[in-house]
Symmetry: none
Subunit: 214 residues, 4 copies
Amino acid sequence: MIHSPESSHPLQRREREREQRRADILAAAESVFAAHDFHEASIESIADAAGFAAGTIYLYFEDKDALYVAVLVEKITRMLGFVEGRVRHAKEPLAALREAVAAQFEFHDQHRAFFEILSRQRPGMSNGKGREWKRIRSCYERHTELLCSLIEAAQQRRSLRKMDSRHLAFGLLGMILQLTREALRQHAEEPLANQTEFVMDLFLHGAGHERRAA
Amino acid sequence: MIHSPESSHPLQRREREREQRRADILAAAESVFAAHDFHEASIESIADAAGFAAGTIYLYFEDKDALYVAVLVEKITRMLGFVEGRVRHAKEPLAALREAVAAQFEFHDQHRAFFEILSRQRPGMSNGKGREWKRIRSCYERHTELLCSLIEAAQQRRSLRKMDSRHLAFGLLGMILQLTREALRQHAEEPLANQTEFVMDLFLHGAGHERRAA
Amino acid sequence: MIHSPESSHPLQRREREREQRRADILAAAESVFAAHDFHEASIESIADAAGFAAGTIYLYFEDKDALYVAVLVEKITRMLGFVEGRVRHAKEPLAALREAVAAQFEFHDQHRAFFEILSRQRPGMSNGKGREWKRIRSCYERHTELLCSLIEAAQQRRSLRKMDSRHLAFGLLGMILQLTREALRQHAEEPLANQTEFVMDLFLHGAGHERRAA
Amino acid sequence: MIHSPESSHPLQRREREREQRRADILAAAESVFAAHDFHEASIESIADAAGFAAGTIYLYFEDKDALYVAVLVEKITRMLGFVEGRVRHAKEPLAALREAVAAQFEFHDQHRAFFEILSRQRPGMSNGKGREWKRIRSCYERHTELLCSLIEAAQQRRSLRKMDSRHLAFGLLGMILQLTREALRQHAEEPLANQTEFVMDLFLHGAGHERRAA
DNA sequence: TATGAATGAGAGTTCATTCAT
DNA sequence: CATGAATGAACTCTCATTCAT
């Protein structure tokens, strides 16, 4: 076998190329699944979008379900990493929370297709694909727990009131998701991240006019 | 011929029975669509659930799309009516808002299957079913506007701060939806309505500990 | 049982009424089959056209095939009777042939729907409906033989040349059918019977210009 | 890699093979449609006859209607070409007419299945398949006009009498079709072309015995 | 007798998946 | 490795037919 210069580690190159093609397919699948819902998105249309023939998809993914799950896993993992990364640099719980909100808005903005898919979750895989499915659930859970831990840290510092932290997390998340949903629905041009302050203001101080406490 | 009391108006009875069967089918469709997403729910499984043969469904609904839309239209209309009805009795905007939140939680609680369907919206009907589809969108819109108008009324009374009312509405709605989602995910037994106070508290006063303003 | 005056023979009246309804259904079926081909014509549309409910058809006809065959049998028998009746009054073979042609054109004209059905014959009943089907074939045959016998009679009188009589019969029939087909295709208003002279002229003398024989 | 001679242009070969399979399906469809009328001929039976699975048909034809129309278009075009080709070599209008008759008989003889389909025309495509349908009608029309123009040319040379040329064309065509129909009905072994002289004789000189004119 | 709601077999059609090339 | 033709299971939908009323 002849080695061209850049293939000094041919097996690694093979591996790298394979990963690249896999990523291409994932990207194609993401945009197609975003536009058409699982059953309306055909393997062929995904293959087309990726520049492959239909059969080729099966060299990279077990079946359509696996491809779908892989899209979710890949993206949701990345999202979690992105949010966690941003949170890490904050000095203080409330600032971290603000970072988490901002990061999530930004991610939604940069991955609108993914958000579309995410908000149209299917009830559950009937088959034995449960394995991967659990991985997705655990990502969700980690996300929730990240918010919870930030909230609890803030509560310890008395930056936040002693309300049920999980409920607070869901409330906060709900606001973010609904505002995102609405913005995408209207194909809004304005970056979602601009809503960070609104959300933090509402979350921290509420919409009530009168002064609280006394 | 002897008329039993209830058959005094046979045509009305026919009509009534037909409506009853149509309702049975709608109910069956609701539960099947809730469990299986549009394309995974077969007409046959719906028919089975309703106690009919597959062909019978088509005596009551044009096609599968029409049945799906009918489920949504029927329920979403009812939900809107329910919320509006509850709001109407409130004397004052903030109380009305609380009623709206409580009503929505209650509705979700009593129609969990419907909520599952609702939160898994399909991108859009390809065909000419647009007519009914618009009706659904307009119900959504009316719901949003109901919340907006209550919020604005409260703002006029200075019960709420002057923040963007649509954003506030979406924020409030987002909290409700996310908390509902989570409760259903865990098959929680506790009535959702118990979360009304939590939501109103968070929405009105925020989670922040420190006194606002001064 | 109480006899009203006109029901002095109630069983006969019953019978008569039944026949009337049967005839109504046949007439409705004829027009529907003319417009829509066997499989596109639904029992329900025929029943509607006859002013009955779908199920009622089955009180008068075994099944859809039987109804279809009955339409053909009834009409084709009537057509044959009509042509035979007209032929009978002719004094002389050639005149009889002219009457046969005229009669057929007239019948086509008055029963256009029937002609449409006839010219769209189905290959053959797969099932055991062969019985009735043979009756139809035998009507055809009788028609052909009528023409043949007239032709042969004319040949004996030396009014016609000694050509194969069956072939002559088919040739003559072919002209009639094709001209009818074309007239109906164009929804021509002019009575088909006007073409009798043209057909007889062509059949007897041919289209050739030069004098034959010598 | 070794190229066998016939694979020197692999794309062309692909194309050629595809055309071959398409032709196989058309042939299978022709024989099935000939035996069973459009609605009684199932896609599966056609696929079986072609040696394919049902789904495969759809890789070559849009739907069943398209397949049906394709059979007609392909054959009717070929028939017209065949007749026109034969006519072209005739030196003189009457000879050309004789060629047209002979050619048509021959074509019917070699494509009996097609003739069966043709003589059982459906009223008309309901859908938007009108495009191809018109193409068929225009082939018919061209055929009629071919006969008309030959007849008119003969009339100008005084080889034929001045009778309505369209009517003459339909009369001639009617004879041909009816004789064909009858021969196929009896599964006659004798070539139809043998009837050419009979038809031309009848058409030119008529069946009348007496001398015409004087 | 007439009805028409219900049936269910059967059709056309799609598309994930396989496999010879 | 990639291909894409072929498959065939599964689905939606139609409609002749039955039968309780």
